[in-house]
């Protein structure tokens, strides 16, 4: 609003200066009748010019800053939305696509909001001024002169629709390009290991070319828009030449009026051109807005309960009630009829072949994926009725693949608890047998890890991830194959330390190595999403089923190796 006011000010001065100049020239023409000396006018002009300059600075900065502020606010909102979205969303969308929306699509909108609005206001002011002046001279001529405009508007409308579609396509191509770039950069090591540099370059060239193509089409459209607008103005002049001309000849219009009229019409040329440009911005902005809305309107399937259950401290009893789960409505069941009661403070081990659903089961407890109602209960309450933050606060989770942030090791361990002290961090690191590694790093806890933890060894990453879960001090601890990357000695040490840490907590541990689960109260064996065996280590051995077979296999090797 303020910006518009400033703009009106600028334009007023813009009109004042030619008027002052006109007075000055008239004064010079007839020095005798002049009211003021030329120096007076000169001073006036200079003052007006300086004032105009200052106001112009304000008007432009106000509006363009507003554009940036809108961009900022939109970006904030987008990110806030992302934080509420669930894993199914992030697996559907490509990272590069989201990145592209955050930068390239937002840029289009900012351009529209800043420059677009600035020029729309400018254009409108000029249009209204010129048309009012024209109407005063000759209403009929004005109507005639404006005749080509409706036609143009029609044509432009058609063009705009195409432009919108093309814009969407171009933005999608750019998103694809971004995704390709993102993937290729993340895959740097594999690409090198398999000499796929050429292949990557080729596939990047493919996406770049199709982005190029859609940009070329955009360029053609843009190229058409501007001359069409220019031609409209000129056509108006042509009409005036004819109709106005004949009126001058027939004496209905004075020559002076005719010339003045033409002058006003000329005033319209530039804003009309501008209009073409703005239309282009608008189409691009609209296309990008549609893409942003894709994020803003996305809703997670994992939602906060409408009526949260009123629970006190979470104790840690977990019950699965006939749980069946599939990742998509039309895909195969990953878990089938899982029923299991895990008492508070018990330790449960899960084993099973790859792809049998162990991680899926683990991921459902903190509701990383949507869980059917009344199938998982904690302390007898459906987890869908627990506030998400409460539920997740009660759970310490070590994912099968450690994900670390490119921050310091200390920050990574303290990820779950803001303001955890150095002492606590060190204690958690000790339980995870990470203390010696940290000691060996020159910067200790302040060591910066690379993206996704690339500057740590596999086992170090995994142990940071364990320490991170432990520091949270949760009632329920879920460990998804937490020791796959550590050696026997470290495994032993961690298991020993965890033993004392476990006291009173409910622990769920997934592992391929029986050594990690043999001490559990109950062990379940999953096969293709079903529980096929269940019992303690001893019971399962006595059962002589799959578990016993795995055990025998691991023992058998030992036998072989003994000789």
């Amino acid at each position: 609003m303020l910006g518009a006011l400033w703009l009106a000010g600028t334009n007023a001065f813009a009109l004042a200066i030619p008027w002052l100049l006109k007075l000055a020239i008239e004064g010079l023409q007839r020095p005798a009748t002049a009211q003021h000396a030329p120096s007076y006018y000169a001073l006036m002009i200079i003052t007006a010019a300086l004032l105009q300059g200052i106001i112009r600075i304000f008007s432009r900065t106000t509006l363009l800053h507003a554009g940036r502020r809108i961009e900022f606010a939109l970006r904030e909102e987008l990110y806030a939305r992302l934080l509420t979205l669930d894993l199914p969303y992030f697996q559907r969308e490509r990272t590069g696509d989201i990145l592209s929306r955050f930068s390239n699509d937002l840029t289009n909108i900012r351009m529209l909001m800043g420059f677009g609005v600035l020029n729309v206001i400018n254009t409108l002011i000029l249009y209204i001024a010129a048309i009012v002046l024209m109407l005063r001279l000759s209403p009929i001529l004005t109507i005639c002169a404006l005749l080509p405009f409706p036609v143009t508007i029609l044509v432009v409308k058609r063009l705009s629709a195409t432009m919108y579609r093309r814009s969407i396509r171009a933005q999608e191509e750019l998103a694809r390009l971004t995704s390709r770039a993102e993937e290729s950069v993340s895959a740097a090591v594999v690409v090198r290991a398999y000499c796929r540099e050429e292949g990557e370059t080729d596939s990047f060239r493919t996406v770049s070319s199709s982005y190029l193509d859609s940009n070329m089409q955009m360029a053609r459209l843009r190229g058409m828009m501007i001359p069409i607008m220019a031609a409209t103005g000129a056509m108006g002049t042509l009409i005036i030449l004819f109709i106005g001309g004949s009126r001058v000849i027939s004496g209905e219009l004075t020559l002076g009026d005719f010339v003045a009229f033409n002058g006003y019409l000329a005033m319209l040329v530039w804003p009309t051109l501008m209009l073409g440009w703005i239309l282009n911005l608008m189409q691009r902005g609209a296309a990008s807005m549609a893409r942003l809305n894709g994020v803003l309107n996305a809703r997670p399937t994992v939602t906060e309960p409408a009526a949260p259950a009123d629970v006190g401290e979470i104790g840690g009893e977990i019950e699965f009630r006939n749980l069946s789960f599939s990742y998509a409505a039309d895909s195969a069941m990953v878990l089938q009829n899982i029923s299991l009661l895990i008492g508070k403070g018990t330790k449960i081990g899960i084993v099973g072949a790859i792809g049998s659903g162990k991680s899926t089961l683990a991921r459902l407890i903190p509701r990383l994926y949507p869980v059917p109602d009344e199938t998982i209960l904690i302390d007898g309450t459906d987890i869908n009725c627990l506030p998400l933050a409460r539920l997740r606060d009660a759970i310490g989770f070590v994912p099968q693949e450690s994900f670390l942030f490119s921050r310091t090791i200390g920050d990574n361990i303290a990820f779950g608890r803001d303001g955890a002290g150095e002492e606590e961090i060190a204690a958690a690191a000790r339980v995870a047998s990470l203390d010696q590694d940290i000691e060996r790093f020159p910067a200790g806890l302040q060591t910066l890890v690379g993206e996704r933890g690339v500057t740590l060894s596999g086992g170090q990453k995994q142990r940071v991830s364990i320490a991170r879960a432990l520091l949270k001090d949760p009632q329920i601890l879920i460990l998804d194959d937490p020791l796959s990357a550590v050696d026997a000695r470290t495994e032993e040490a961690i298991l020993r330390d965890l033993e004392s840490y476990y006291a009173g907590r409910t622990v769920l541990i997934v592992s391929h190595r029986l050594s990690a689960v043999r001490g559990c109260d109950t062990i379940i064996v999953l096969d293709q999403g079903r529980i096929v065996e269940q019992g303690s280590h001893g019971e399962l051995l006595a059962l002589n089923g799959r578990y016993a077979a795995i055990h025998r296999e691991q023992q058998l090797r030992e036998e072989i190796e003994r000789f």
């Binding site: 010019a49 900065t61 990145l99 840029t107 390009l177």
Partner: protein, 592 residues
């Protein structure tokens, strides 16, 4: 809260200033013909535009004043023709310019990308993905803005300017000098603003990269963020970076607006000065009234290209700042790919017989040695296992063999030739690595195993069978043609590992490097793999890293790595007899 670290992109620049434009022109050079055409069109389009008022004047003078209708239609036709010509020419100009811009952007982007493919792995350890993606997308896009703003017309503007200056000087020296007295101010403004704008734009580009790096990481780590209820803190950090980016932009806008406004103001000031001075001259009778009016009109014309230039100034500075970053990346040292096309080492018929690690020292940073004087020999057909405490340096050894990193001291030699003398591709083609962290691409399972390599494509199914991946693949609705989502997120960890294992097998390498290749695989599958590999590994050299000692029971030799040093070496029996570190590890794993 402030996380520092990798989100702080460096601000490059300064050093590039002078050579920047010249270097950029090299990318435009292939399209100079287009540029010439655009420059040729410019005066034509301007002519068509300027001729319109002239025809109008003719119409007024010859027809309207005289009241003569004949001939007017002809004039009108001419007018129409000019309109058409102007439209077409403008279209051609806009289109060609954009065309050129897009092509240049494409070239630059491709060069950047293929350069990235040649950068050493080390570079990626410290550069966030988001920052590189920004380089490839936004930074290049900014150049497009420069073309869209009609950068070529700058040349036209400058020519017009020169012409007008000439005419003005010729018309009236004194008046011209009075007019030009505002020029030093203008030049001074342009100069100071350039520095400030460029600095501000450098900030803008760097902060955008930071923002994207953070965002990229956030998206990948969203599950962790949500599991740990960190949304609030992450949002705060994002807000900080977002605000930084916004605030970096604000001064640029102010500079730009000031420049534009000052040019406008100066043009009016110049007119004021002329009125002042010229008015006096007229009074004194030194100047004709007509000359003054004409001169004032020239001042308008004189400032029009300047105004045009100033409106592009900011876009240009932004583009320059982006170019600095692009060139900075292009100047990052590439891996020396080597060129041994002399084929001894590309040639499969000359198999590798020994690989020697001789006193290998290696540090990732400075002299923080991770490997300290490692000696190791692998012979053809041998299976050598590396075991040891986590963080001991096992993965590092495998990385050095593939030359992802260069040894700091000592050497690795294949049949006596230092691997630094081999071409990178020649070396890497002979090694099949199963990385400790499997990486899958978006695409089908088939593609993920073959990576588009024709040779590997024919072995996809065999390889899958060897590693026992075919069992789960066949269960999928589309089998080998099932789509893998980004980073393999729709597969289980074990499934991902099997695919990455199958990939190594499908490439049929001479040397197989298995870095914890079965860490996420169940015992039964592991046995299948071992049986499958038995036949395959005959005659090949295998280097296995494993924590599960059962996987290495049939190794010919076992090497125990502890804190970067080889502490034990020998067969299982020998090491058991030594009762050293291996013995202890073994006892722990199989205690019962």
């Amino acid at each position: 809260m402030h996380f520092g670290g990798l989100y702080e992109d460096e601000i490059v620049g300064k050093a590039y200033d002078r050579r920047l434009m010249a270097r950029f022109l090299r990318y435009v050079a292939p399209y100079r013909k287009l540029a010439v055409v655009v420059l040729a069109i410019l005066p034509l389009a301007a002519g068509a535009k300027l001729a319109q008022p002239w025809l109008m004047k003719l119409a007024i003078d010859n027809h309207l004043i005289k009241g003569e209708m004949t001939g007017l239609p002809l004039l009108a036709t001419g007018f129409l023709g000019l309109i058409l010509a102007e439209s077409l020419l403008t279209f051609a100009e806009v289109w060609l310019l954009q065309h050129m811009g897009q092509k240049v952007m494409f070239d630059l982007r491709m060069e950047l990308f293929s350069h990235l493919q040649r950068l050493p792995v080390r570079f990626f350890d410290r550069t966030p993905t988001g920052s590189l993606v920004t380089r490839l997308t936004s930074d290049v896009e900014v150049l497009g803005e420069m073309f869209a703003a009609g950068i070529i017309t700058v040349v036209g503007d400058i020519m017009v300017l020169a012409g007008i200056v000439g005419i003005m000087l010729w018309m009236n020296l004194k008046l011209s000098l009075v007019t030009f007295s505002v020029l030093p101010v203008l030049v001074w403004i342009a100069f100071t603003f350039r520095k400030r704008m460029r600095t501000a734009y450098r900030q803008v580009r760097a902060r955008l990269a930071n923002l994207n790096s953070f965002l990229n990481e956030s998206i990948h780590g969203m599950a962790v963020v949500q599991l740990f209820n960190r949304q609030k803190t992450e949002q705060q950090e994002f807000t900080r970076l977002n605000a930084d980016y916004r605030d970096a932009n604000l001064p640029v806008i102010t500079w730009d607006a000031s420049l534009y406004a000052m040019v406008e103001a100066l043009s009016s000031v110049a007119i004021g000065l002329i009125v002042w001075y010229g008015g006096g001259e007229i009074v004194r009778g030194n100047l004709s009234f007509g000359a003054l009016v004409a001169f004032i009109q020239y001042i308008e014309k004189f400032f029009s290209p300047i105004r045009d230039l100033s409106s592009k100034y900011s876009v240009m500075q932004g583009a320059m700042a982006a170019l600095e970053r692009i060139f900075h990346l292009l100047d990052t040292e590439k891996d020396e790919m080597g060129t041994d096309l002399i084929s001894t080492h590309q040639n499969r018929s000359v198999p590798i017989s020994t690989i020697d690690f001789r006193d290998v020292w290696f540090a990732y940073n400075n002299d923080d040695y991770v490997l300290k004087g490692l000696n190791l020999t692998l012979r053809r057909g041998e299976k050598v296992a590396m075991v040891g405490e986590t963080g001991g340096g096992k993965t590092t050894v495998t990385r050095l063999l593939s030359r992802f990193y260069e040894v700091s001291r000592g050497s690795i030699a294949i049949d006596g030739t230092d691997i630094r003398e081999l071409s990178l591709h020649g070396l890497r083609r002979r090694i099949g690595v199963v990385l400790q962290d499997p990486f899958l691409f978006t695409g089908t399972i088939r593609f993920n195993i073959s990576l588009g390599n024709p040779g590997a494509e024919s072995r996809v199914e065999v390889a899958a069978r060897i590693v026992g991946a075919d069992r789960f693949i066949r269960r999928l609705p589309l089998g080998f043609d099932e789509e893998v989502r980004e980073k393999g997120s729709n597969l289980s960890a074990g499934e991902r590992q099997l695919i990455s294992f199958a990939r190594a097998v499908a490439f049929d390498p001479e040397i197989l490097v298995l870095d914890e290749a079965t860490a996420s695989v169940d015992t039964a599958s592991e046995r299948l793999i071992q049986e499958g590999l038995k036949g395959l590994m005959a005659g090949r050299t295998t280097l296995v890293v494993a924590h599960r000692l059962s996987t290495i029971r049939d190794a010919d030799r076992i090497v125990v790595i502890h804190r970067g040093e080889k502490v034990e070496e020998g067969s299982h029996e020998e090491l058991m007899a030594q009762q050293g570190l291996y013995y202890r590890l073994y006892q722990l794993q199989f205690r019962d």
